[in-house]
Each structure stands twice: as structure tokens, then as C-alpha cells.
């Protein structure tokens, strides 16, 4: 049986979290060669000598036999339709390039759904200059008369593309739920930090939650936590990294607020950074400094400052 939180339902819109992660991906030799040659309107495949399997576009490892170290070959720009579907952004198909033992996914252009049939002959339509990677092929068009193309040795191949810049832009919407909902609503409107009592009633947990992590018993009633506390652990950040919210140097601190039994991660600021190591230590007393702006997040606390007389 879980306790019903003595809170009120708060209809907060979800918390939006946007991540934007840059990458430099490495395609490997075969796919890198495919990417290098496709810009020159050549389709590169891989022939695996032991099984004779041909894979288009080229891959370093045979998905059928597990072989490695293929011979790179030039594949024709023609094939047959193996499967297709209509999507909101056009026709998508699996195409078996002539001579290949596997299908590749691409667009169908210059045709309507009604004209497509499994087994239809298709030919690549090349993009105008500027399209990158596999989109150097704009799509495949029906080509009933196209002769069956042949796999040929790859001649005069350039250096494979070894790095492909990439970016993941991820947009999440996290639901607050009743505990985070009240915590951040109180932070926003009342500038109060609310926890819940531990099951034994001795301390309080921040962030508030339904069940105690140690005893697995339901937590107690809501309690306001003081805005003063003690630094438990600290470090001076000089490192710069992607996604960082403030320029270094600054002080990372894990703070136990008075009355709380758990830690809060924040920054201690307003100190002479050249003496940060001496001024901020485990045991140093600090208090919250609020920002003017109220967004209803932990960041509404701008930082923690030293309590002058250390009390």
C-alpha cells in the first residue's frame, strides 16, 4: 500500500529538456568508400570472396556469412523493386541493385503508388550537386526497359570518407508528477524548498519522493527545508565542455540543507576564486541566493553564498 501524498494535483506543463549532441562518426573502409564515390555518381558495393556474396551499398562485414575484408566493386545504378510503401514524405522502397544479394532502402521518384509492383525495374536518379551521402541519389525511378547491370571491379577509387559530422537534436518532455510538481511549484511561486519527511520522521528527503530508498517504506508528510546548509563535498571546475552552462572557473558543490538527509547539487559563488580551495570546504556553511526570474527549476536558485559568520 502506497501512501497518498498530502499534496494537491498541480497541472504543470511537462518539463522540456533539449539535448543537442555533436558527433564525428566513422563509417569504416567500405561504407567510407561508398560515401566517397557516390558523389562521383558511382555506387560502391562489397564482394566477399569466400561466399561470393555481394552487398550494395558496401559494408565491411558480410551480414550473411560474417566474412570480413571484402573486395570493393562498382555496382550498376539499376535494380528491381523488392518492397515499397507510401509515407507522408513520399514513396520509400527496398531496392535490390543488380548483382547484389541484399536490398537497400531509398526513395521512389517520378511514380505514383499505383504504378509500383514488386519486381519493377528501376534506375537511380542523381541529385544535383550539393546533396551528400546516400542522398546524392535523389531516388529511383521506374525504368522498365533498363538492362540488367553488372558488378565490375572498382577502378580508380579515391580515399574513403573517414569522418562524417552528425548531430542528434533530442527534445524530451518530462512529466513532473505530484512530488516534483509540488516541489517546483513551491519554488516558483513561494520561494520555498519542500521535502518529505523520512519514514522515521527524523530527517527529510530532497527531492521529495514516495518511497524511502533505504527502508523502502512510504515517506512522511511535506516539510519546508531551510535555505541554509552545509557543503559536504566540493570541487573547483576549470574544465570546459560542450553543453556547459557557465564559463569556468566555478565551484561545484554537494550541499546538505539544514533539516534534509539528502544532497543537493549546486554551485557556490561570490567567493574570491583565487582562494576557492581555502574558502569552500566540506563543512562550510552556505545559503541560497534566488534569481529574480521565476521559472520553477532548481536553477531559480542562482547559487549558494557563504554565510559570513559561518552559522
Amino acid at each position: 500500500m502506497l501512501a497518498i501524498p498530502d499534496t494537491f494535483p498541480i497541472d504543470l506543463p511537462p518539463f522540456k529538456s533539449d539535448l543537442s549532441m555533436p558527433y564525428t562518426l566513422t563509417p569504416g573502409r567500405a561504407a567510407g568508400s561508398f560515401l566517397a564515390e557516390i558523389g562521383k555518381r558511382r555506387i560502391v558495393g562489397a564482394r566477399f570472396p569466400r561466399s561470393g556474396t555481394v552487398v550494395v551499398p558496401a559494408q565491411d562485414f558480410c551480414p550473411l556469412s560474417g566474412e570480413s575484408d571484402p573486395e570493393l566493386v562498382e555496382a550498376p545504378a539499376t535494380g528491381t523493386l523488392a518492397a515499397f510503401t507510401q509515407t507522408g514524405s513520399g514513396l520509400i522502397a527496398l531496392i535490390r541493385i543488380d548483382g547484389s544479394d541484399v536490398d537497400m532502402a531509398h526513395r521512389i521518384v517520378g511514380a505514383t503508388l499505383g504504378e509500383l509492383k514488386i519486381g519493377l525495374r528501376v534506375a537511380a536518379v542523381w541529385s544535383d550537386v550539393g546533396a551528400e551521402g546516400v542522398l546524392a541519389i535523389a531516388g529511383f525511378r521506374p525504368a522498365p526497359q533498363a538492362p540488367i547491370g553488372l558488378i565490375r571491379p572498382l577502378e580508380g577509387a579515391g580515399k574513403p570518407v573517414d569522418v562524417v559530422p552528425y548531430k542528434l537534436n533530442l527534445h524530451y518532455e518530462h512529466a513532473f508528477g505530484p512530488y516534483y510538481g509540488r516541489l517546483f511549484d513551491e519554488i516558483k511561486h513561494n520561494r520555498r524548498i519542500m521535502g518529505v519527511r523520512t519514514p522515521d520522521g527524523e530527517g527529510a528527503m530532497l527531492p521529495p519522493r514516495e518511497i524511502c530508498d533505504i527502508t523502502h517504506k512510504p515517506t512522511g508528510t511535506w516539510v519546508e527545508i531551510k535555505q541554509t546548509g552545509t557543503v559536504r563535498a566540493m570541487s573547483v571546475i576549470y574544465l570546459e565542455f560542450i553543453g556547459q552552462k557557465q564559463p569556468p572557473p566555478y565551484i561545484y558543490a554537494e550541499i546538505m540543507l539544514d533539516g534534509a538527509s539528502t544532497r543537493l547539487i549546486h554551485n557556490v559563488a561570490g567567493v574570491d576564486m583565487s582562494r576557492a580551495k581555502e574558502l569552500v570546504k566540506p563543512g562550510t556553511r552556505v545559503r541560497a541566493v534566488w534569481r529574480e526570474q521565476r521559472t520553477g527549476a532548481l536553477d531559480d536558485i542562482s547559487h549558494f553564498e557563504l554565510i559570513p559568520d559561518g552559522k
Binding site: 555533436p22 556469412s65 542528434l168 533505504i214 576549470y238 553543453g243 580551495k277 566540506p282
Partner: protein, 383 residues
Amino acid sequence: MGRHVGIVGVGQTHHSRRRTDVSQAGLVREAVDRALVDAKLTMEDIDSVVVATGPVLFAAVNQPEKWVADAIGATMKPVVRITSGGGTGLAGALAANYQIAGGFADRVLVVAYDKLSEGALQYSISTLYDPFWGREFAVGIMGFSAAYWRARMDVLGHTEEAAAMVAVKNRRNAMNNPYAHVKKEVTVEDVLRSKPLAWPIKTLDVPPISDGAAAVVLSCEELAAKSTDRPAWIHGMGYFCEADNAPARSMLVSEPLALAARRVYRAAGITNPRRQFDVVEVQEPYTCFELSYYESLGLCMPGEAAELIRSGATQVDGDIPVNPSGGCAGANPIGAAALIRLIEAASQVMGKAAGNQIPNAKLALAQAGGGWANLRGIAVLGA
């Protein structure tokens, strides 16, 4: 107790800062090819595959086990993926151990890798934190790790000098490791003077960022002899978690590691770890962790770690050598790091650690961890 399980083949890549000549899956293939050759087996002999990976955001490939299975020729075999932060390699080996011990497979291949050159590491690690509570202030795990090292200085005496000695030892040991990619000896002075990143953590307290992969073949007792007459037998293995922000946690000793050690030592008959183990491999993402692990693993009492490193006991010629391979200081492809520790420990008791071999090593301890402080595990391996 289930069936006996042994490590019968190991393989790892020559780790480096950046490999642009292979894809992520190609990197795994290199380690797998080496492990299969080492075990005198082919993929056909493998019943089941475990793919162990770090956080997906490190490399932007979701469900990488699909890609990896194709690249190592394991299609149509049972495949599971285990992901458990930096300790994922050990967690993957544990899953393989269970499969064989439980009689569901005779030989299992475990692969683990990371190609850290491809992503934004500290930013990715910060997403391990609760988006509501702490993520906006997180500095990967480095801010956290540095902060609690600072706290341990006061209570347990883990000084900057003691941690610097760990860096000196591990970087010297890495000189003899053919797979390490950082090979440069340093002095205590060099470490203390190196640029602070998250003080007290300084540049030379930090391992490199690496591209690398590792693979291990585990076998049941009946079939082990086909691969080697000297497997590394698993005497015990465990991987434990603790609550992230539970009430009244000191964070001064690693509680899940102490828990794992207590449990696994009992199963493996270890009553005096310092005297019984011939060699130890720990996964030390920063030098300060190695000091902390000495204590959680029972190699010394809490508060004695600085004295243990100072005494020379954990050097290759000491009575309890720790990280003769150089540990993470030599190479740190995070997702593979824990499996590399297991490989190095296994190689010691199999007698094939070459330049890093501790003479007559019969009993080895491997430690691993992930999720800043929350996940910790060990394995005890015997000749």
C-alpha cells in the same frame, strides 16, 4: 551453485585516441577475431553472444547490438545487450557467466566497446543525471568524483600526493602493456603540477579518452580444454547497486563495492584479500578512485589507502600488485574498460600477461564500476 565457468579466450584492440580507419562495429570485430583465435574457436562454436555497451549517447547508435551482431558474424544466434555504465563489461560477463552456470549455453562470447572520439563525452555523461534535479549543474562524473575526493581527504587522508603516486604507478605499468595507448612516465611532481580540471582532479589524475574494444570467451568446464589447458576459472562474480540520493549516505566509502566484495569473497572463500590475492585489476576512472577501492575491497582498512600506495605494496613487485596493466591510465574506452580489467586479471592467472605478468599469479581480483558511484562489481578468478 551452477556449473563451473572459465575464461578460455581473450582479445582487445590496440587502443588509441581516435581510430578513423574503422567503424564502431569494425572495432568490435577486431577484438572478437582476436578472442576467437585465442580460444582456438570460430563463431560457429559460440552458443550465445552478450553485447555490453556504455550509454548510447556516447556514440549516437541506438540498439547497437543489431549492428554488432552482423559485423561479428553472429546473426541467428541468441544475442542480448547489457548496458550498465562504465562497469558494463563486467555486467556483460556476469550475464554470460549466468547463462553457462545455469546450463543454458556452453560457450558465450562477451563483447564490449566504446569509440569515445565520436561524441561529446562530459555532456553525454551529464545526461545520466535526473533532468529535474542535478543535471543542470553536473560536470560529467568529474565534478562529483572530485568533490567526494575532497571530502575523503579530510576524513580518510586521501591526499593529492597519494593519488599522484597512483598515476605514477599506473602510467609506468602501462609502458609494458602493448594495448595501452598512453605510454609516458610521469613523476609525482608532474601530476601535482598538471593543470586542474576539477580540482583536486588534475590532468594527470585523469585517464585518456580512448577508442577500443574487448572480447572474452567464457566456457563450461566440459569444453574448456578444447581452448586451453589453463583457463581462468570464475570463483565468484557480482555487480551491485545503491540508491542514488538516499538519506544519510556518506559517499566516503563505496558501499555497493564493499557489498559486492563481502558477498563474492564469501562465495570464493576469500577471508584475507590482501594476503590471498596475487594481483588486482581495478577500473580507476580517476586516480582518487583507486585509493578508495583499496579500502572498499579490503586491501587495507579505511584511512590506510595513502599509506598502502606509499609503502609500494601495490607496485608490480609489491605484495599486492594493483593494475600491472596500467589500468585505465593506459587506455580508457569506457564501455570496454571493465571487460579489459577482467581480461587483464584473467591473463594473469592464465599465465599469459607477457610484459605485465606477475610471477606465479594464481588468484586475481577484478573490479569494475559504472554510474558515477552507484554500480560496482568484482570478479574473483583462479588458475
